[in-house]
Structures are given as structure tokens and as C-alpha cells.
Amino acid sequence: SAVISQKPSRDICQRGTSLTIQCQVDSQVTMMFWYRQQPGQSLTLIATANQGSEATYESGFVIDKFPISRPNLTFSTLTVSNMSPEDSSIYLCSVVVRGSDEKLFFGSGTQLSVL
């Protein structure tokens, strides 16, 4: 497994502002992803964070709304831009750890509330 640290763990933000979430992993990872979990719902993949290049977004998610960086193998950021109350969710960083037989591990998440 791996220790996946996300910051902040929770935040309350005003409509129209942006929040950047950080994800740091203590192990060598092959892939990093960002998921969203809306209140009382299951998880949905937002994008794959690619090292040194633009992220790969899933249907329904766009770079302008959710810009992602991954400057190295173990660190990534997700920004939630121009927030509205509909963006209130838990945002989760997840990784595939090298040598873990392709298992997907999750961070503890960032609980975002937008007023």
C-alpha cells in the first residue's frame, strides 16, 4: 500500500472562488487519479493525472473547471475553479502503487462545501 496525504482535509468556500487540493504519496506510483464523491453517492473518476503533461479527463469533466498538475511521480494538485454549491463533494486522490499488482489506493479525501 501507500500513504496518500491530501490537503486540505476539508474546506468551506464561497461561490465563485477556486480551491487547490494537494496530493502527496510516499511511494513510487505508476498512475494517479482524481475522483469525486458527491454527497451520499458513489465515486466518479474526474481525470488521470499525467506526469509532465495535460491530464486526461473523463466525460463530463473539463480542464477549465478542474485543472490538474502532476509535476513529478508522487505529487499532484486538483483545482476546483469558479465554484458553485453543486461542486460540494468529497474529492479523492487515488494511486496505483508500483508493485501492488495494479490495485487502486485512495487518499482520505477533501470534503468541500461551497456556500
Binding site: 488521470t48 496505483v96 485512495f106 479525501g109 470534503q111
Partner: protein, 116 residues
Amino acid sequence: GESVGLHLPTLSVQEGDNSIINCAYSNSASDYFIWYKQESGKGPQFIIDIRSNMDKRQGQRVTVLLNKTVKHLSLQIAATQPGDSAVYFCAEPWVGYGGSQGNLIFGKGTKLSVKP
């Protein structure tokens, strides 16, 4: 529609009893399934996985059963403890065109409550 789903949204069991959480899937080509446990305020935690070439896999106090005929899998927790209280998700990789490697399709989740 959703590929992976759960039969029951909530399950309440007595401490010490066995728990069974069910999951149905619709894609007969699915060949890998994972169970995750999510405690309140935490991210999903990997519990156990199973590939389609197996019918059963056992871990510590947990067993996953896969019935490919009816496209159903279940998670059995033996001697359920208060610490097992959580939401349990089944998941499978999305096998559609262009799907990302990390694109897991999660079921809706079953909330397990353990009564002392």
C-alpha cells in the same frame, strides 16, 4: 445504465454475526472485481479482489464469492465487529472504449451498521 449495483442500501447486523453484502453486475465480459470499505470521513480502503477465473477468494475474516452465471458477487464478513461499520462498495474496471486504467465503476454502496 450503471454496470455495477448493490441490492440493499443498508444492512444492520448484531456484533458477532456474519454479514453478507451483495452486488450485481451487468457486463458478462467483466473479469475483475474489487471490494472497498469506506469509513466515515475517510477514503475507500481496499479489502479484497477477485478475478473471473475464480469463484471464491478468502482474506482475513472476509470472503468474496463470484457467481458468473447470474453475474453476482458477494462479500461475506465473519464475526462482524463494530469496527466493520462502514459503507461497502463493489467496483469493477470500466471496459468501454477509451476508458482509463483507473476508471473503476463503483456500485452505490451498502451501509453496514453493527449493533453491539
